[in-house]
Amino acid sequence: MDQITTSIAPATRAAPKPATTGSTGEGTSSVTKRLSNELMTLMMSASPGISAFPRSDSNLFDWVGTIEGPAGTIYSGLKWKISIHFPPNYPYAPPVIKYDTPCYHPNVDINSGAICLDILQDKWSAVYSVQTILLSLQSLLGEPNNASPLNPDAANLWAKPDEFKTQIMKFYRPIAE
């Protein structure tokens, strides 16, 4: 039955209502299981431009991700590395995510890589998953929230695509293979 519930409950679709799960499975083993399932779902889904994988086989709480700029946006064709760190009480607390390669973006701190996204802070819900977060981050690239900028310069420059693009490319660092 367990399998059925996990496969039926679409981890990909963020249900707006608060999570009803969590009555069982406190402790790391259930978190590990959840993360394993999320990894499986992420691997088997074919979402273009987003991907993530644990950094090493010994620690399932520390992942590396890749985000490609969505087509049709100013970020199109570029790629960034992010790091994802899951807290021990995941999914009741959001993972800590930051850009590892510099991303010139109104909601991203150009130095620390910190991201300002509501679902990663107060709007977090246990029904979100790695995949939904990655998709959110990807769409954030094309649609920044200029009301609460972490990078005011970028927020100010957003209206001028040419200059903005220059700034992006100034900071952009291709992912070393």
């Binding site: 039955m1 399998q3 394993s36 990894l39 499986m40 992420l42 691997m43 088997m44 991907s51 993530a52 994988f53 644990p54 950094r55 090493s56 086989d57 399932l60 992942w63 590396v64 991700g65 890749t66 590395k81 992912i175 070393a176 293979e177």
Partner: protein, 756 residues
């Protein structure tokens, strides 16, 4: 210029010689008698030409003895000997002439008769010139030496060949007494019947010292003869013990023959025995070696013939104990296996059968199992590379009666699989490993065949998985509800694999009986014509799912049944697998009723014809959902064959409410046996694995995308995140290599990365 001293000296010598020759006889009668004796002896010893008319006259032996005595007394024997030897040497050309003539004839005709004639002639010459015994042994020795030296120096090399044939000829003479008559005209049979027919010939050989000179050749002839006999009598005859028969034959036939060349001087039978001992044991060794060689060459076919060839194997064992040919046996068998067994053309089942026979045969030849270990290794490796090996072994485990002989011996007691045991040194009967065991040789107790087969693979889990697939297939084909046979199989297998491993199979069996119980319950609540088999998804191998939905009344049946089931077992839900099962139905048409037992898809189609009379294939497909077009066409053709519908246009079928006139013709087509579903489409282990590999690939892709380049080790380690990953690193390496060939990844310095 004779000086007085010289003259004096000559006179002294003269008188001395005179005194010796005259032997104090008065006055010169001694000198006269010596002179007579010398003349007589010279005439007697003169080497004559055999073709000459004048032969040595009859010699008065007394005269000769007296004459010889006189010469000896006069100290003139050595002078006589020198004189005689000179004469012999001068006449040796006579012998040369004969040798050349006869050898010339032999060279032209290769007829062994000429060799025999030559031997006879040489013997005659030798006798004719031989000095009488009165002249002492030193003269005889000198004569023999000179004669033989000369003869051997001029015999051409082809003589050896001729001599060989001549000796070979004697094998049959010795026993059968019916040899070529010509030989006996040259070498007459002895008078005494007890003597051997060819003793005259051997005497001649002896006289000419041919036996000494050609001793090794004679042994070779003997070896070859024995070898020929063995090859002739034993080749291809594996059903009776041959070694003892050969040894008997040796005692009766070869040993009497050997008496002539090898035990000529023997006076008593004990003497002969001790003289023959050396050559005899060498010959016995040769017999064993020849037989071992022969059997080694035939070993592959002997194994095929097992158990009819048991006796040949026993012979081989005995021979191998005497000669050390074990490594040859291993090499030959390995080569034969590679050439004849381990190739793509051989059926896996045949390979397994032969492997089992090899196990049995080599255990017989070599109980400690060293030979087997060395031979089995390539076979096991090869079997491991075959995808259907496990299936074959499992099928034979379950004892598919219909597939003929099973690998398992019925009489063998069923025993648990035996893990390889570490050596128990506290065992008082412990024995060290045989000396030719390799370093990686593992002592395997004479365990049963199944244990050996299962040990081809590192884990028995694979077998259990395959067993589940096989069991699923078999359970689903059973229609009469009699699962005794399967239950018995599972019980037997439990003994082998242990209870725990077969728990899943147990659940599968239980599902079958539970299904009937549940069905009875539901029937009692709400009678239905539907009798499903309810299986637990978790415990059954993945069944191929074709997602089609039964139309019309079938769906109603399913739904009502599902409802009852949910009421009975609220926590469970039925998921229908409509492509499995059979439907027995009556079709009531305007003029007739057709009864048929068909597959669900066929039933579904004909159900659709109750709504409309004409359908196209595409429409039918749209109604039932996801079905392969070929399967659909097959289902439709069943009804066409039964004369229920007909093809009314391209891709269009119409119901025949009234049978067509030329119905007979259709009927004459033998109504197909209700399509015997080959085997329920259980996803085979192989397909499951392929499916799994796809999942693993996604993971590999994911990790390489995010982590850049990775070594094989790390990929292997990371794949533990993938569910059910149980491959070895070698398997992974093979898989990555395949991916590289497809251009999905690249590899440099041991690091893998995605190909951009």
């Amino acid at each position: 210029m004779a000086t007085p001293q010289l003259y004096q000296q000559v006179a002294l010598q003269w008188s001395k010689s005179f005194l010796v020759l005259n032997r104090d006889e008065p006055p010169i009668s001694g000198l006269l008698s010596f002179s007579q004796a010398w003349i007589l002896v010279k005439e007697v010893l003169r080497p004559r030409d055999l073709t000459e008319a004048t032969q040595r006259g009859t010699i008065n032996l007394t005269d000769l003895t007296i004459a010889a005595d006189i010469i000896t007394k006069c100290n003139m024997l050595h002078v006589l000997q020198d004189d005689f030897m000179d004469a012999v040497r001068q006449h040796l050309h006579l012998i040369t002439r004969d040798i050349e003539q006869l050898m010339g004839q032999y060279d032209v005709s290769s007829d062994v008769q000429h060799i025999a004639k030559l031997v006879a002639r040489l013997s005659e010459w030798h006798t004719a010139w031989s000095p009488m015994q009165q002249f002492g042994s030193s003269m005889a020795n000198a004569y023999n030496l000179a004669f033989q030296t000369h003869v051997y120096s001029i015999l051409p090399s082809s003589f050896t060949q001729g001599f060989k044939s001549l000796v070979t000829l004697t094998f049959n003479l010795a026993v059968d007494h019916d040899g070529s008559e010509w030989l006996f005209t040259l070498f007459p049979k002895p008078e005494r019947p007890s003597a051997r027919a060819d003793s005259a010939l051997w005497n001649a050989f002896q006289q000419l010292s041919l036996i000494e000179r050609y001793e090794s050749l004679i042994s070779t002839i003997c070896y070859e003869y024995v070898e020929g006999h063995i090859l002739e009598t034993c080749a291809g005859r594996w059903d009776e013990p041959m070694l003892n028969a050969i040894r008997e034959w040796m005692a009766n036939k070869i040993v009497p023959w050997m008496l002539m060349p090898f035990a000529r001087g023997a006076k008593t039978s004990d003497d002969a025995k001790s003289m023959l001992q050396g050559i005899g044991s060498r010959l016995d060794f040769h017999v064993c070696k020849t037989l071992a060689d022969l059997r080694t060459k035939e070993i592959f076919d002997i194994i095929i013939d097992y158990p009819d060839s048991t006796n040949a194997l026993k012979d081989l064992k005995e021979c191998l104990a005497r000669v050390d040919q074990r490594s040859q046996l291993v090499q030959t068998l390995r080569k034969a296996n590679k050439r004849r067994l381990l190739h793509p053309g051989a059926d896996t089942k045949d390979i397994l059968t032969q492997y089992v026979s090899i196990i049995r045969c080599l255990r017989m030849v070599d109980p400690p199992g060293v030979l087997l270990f060395k031979v089995a290794d390539p076979i096991r490796q090869y079997l491991r590379s075959r995808p259907d090996t496990i299936r074959c072994i499992v099928a034979s485990l379950v004892g598919d009666g219909e597939s003929g002989d099973s690998l398992v011996d019925e009489n063998e007691p069923i025993q648990p699989l035996q893990p390889l045991q570490a050596e128990d040194y506290s065992d008082p009967n412990w024995e060290p490993e045989p000396i030719d065991a390799g370093p990686d040789f593992r002592t395997s107790k004479p365990s049963d065949v199944i244990s050996t087969l299962v040990s081809i693979y590192d884990s028995k889990e694979l077998f259990v998985k395959e067993l589940q697939v096989l069991l699923a297939q078999r359970l689903l084909t059973i229609k009469d509800g009699n699962y005794d046979r399967e239950r018995r199989n599972i019980e037997i297998l439990k003994i082998r694999f242990g209870e725990a491993a077969l728990q899943v199979c147990e659940v599968m069996l239980k599902d079958m009986t539970d299904s009937r119980r549940i069905d009875q319950h539901i029937q009692s609540k709400n009678a239905s014509v539907l009798h499903p088999t309810i299986i637990s998804k978790q415990f059954w191998p993945t069944l191929q799912s074709t997602m089609f939905a039964m139309p019309g009344q079938f769906r109603d049946l399913q739904e009502s049944y599902s409802k009852e089931f949910t009421a009975f077992k609220p926590d469970k839900k039925l998921a229908w697998l409509p492509h499995l099962g059979t439907v027995t139905l009556d079709i009531e048409l305007d003029d007739r009723t057709v009864s048929a037992s068909v597959t669900p898809l066929e039933a579904g189609f004909i159900e659709l014809f109750t709504t409309f009379d004409t359908w196209t294939v595409t429409e039918l497909l749209a109604q039932v959902g996801n079905v392969d077009r070929t399967m659909a066409l097959k289902a439709i053709s069943t009804w066409v064959d039964l004369g229920v519908i007909k093809e009314s246009g391209s891709d269009e079928y119409t119901l025949l409410n009234i049978a067509e006139a030329n119905d007979g013709e259709i009927k004459s087509r033998a109504p197909q046996a209700p399509a015997v579903e080959d085997l329920p489409p259980v996803v085979t282990l192989q397909e499951q694995q392929a499916e799994q590999m796809k999942v693993f690939w996604k993971f590999i892709e994911g990790m390489l995308t995010n982590l850049g380049q990775l070594s094989l080790d790390r990929i292997h380690g990371m794949l533990k995140f993938a569910p059910g990953y149980d491959r070895s690193i070698e398997q992974l390496a093979g898989f990555m290599e395949a991916a590289r060939r497809e251009g999905l990844v690249t590899m440099r310095d041991g690091m893998w990365r995605l190909n951009k």
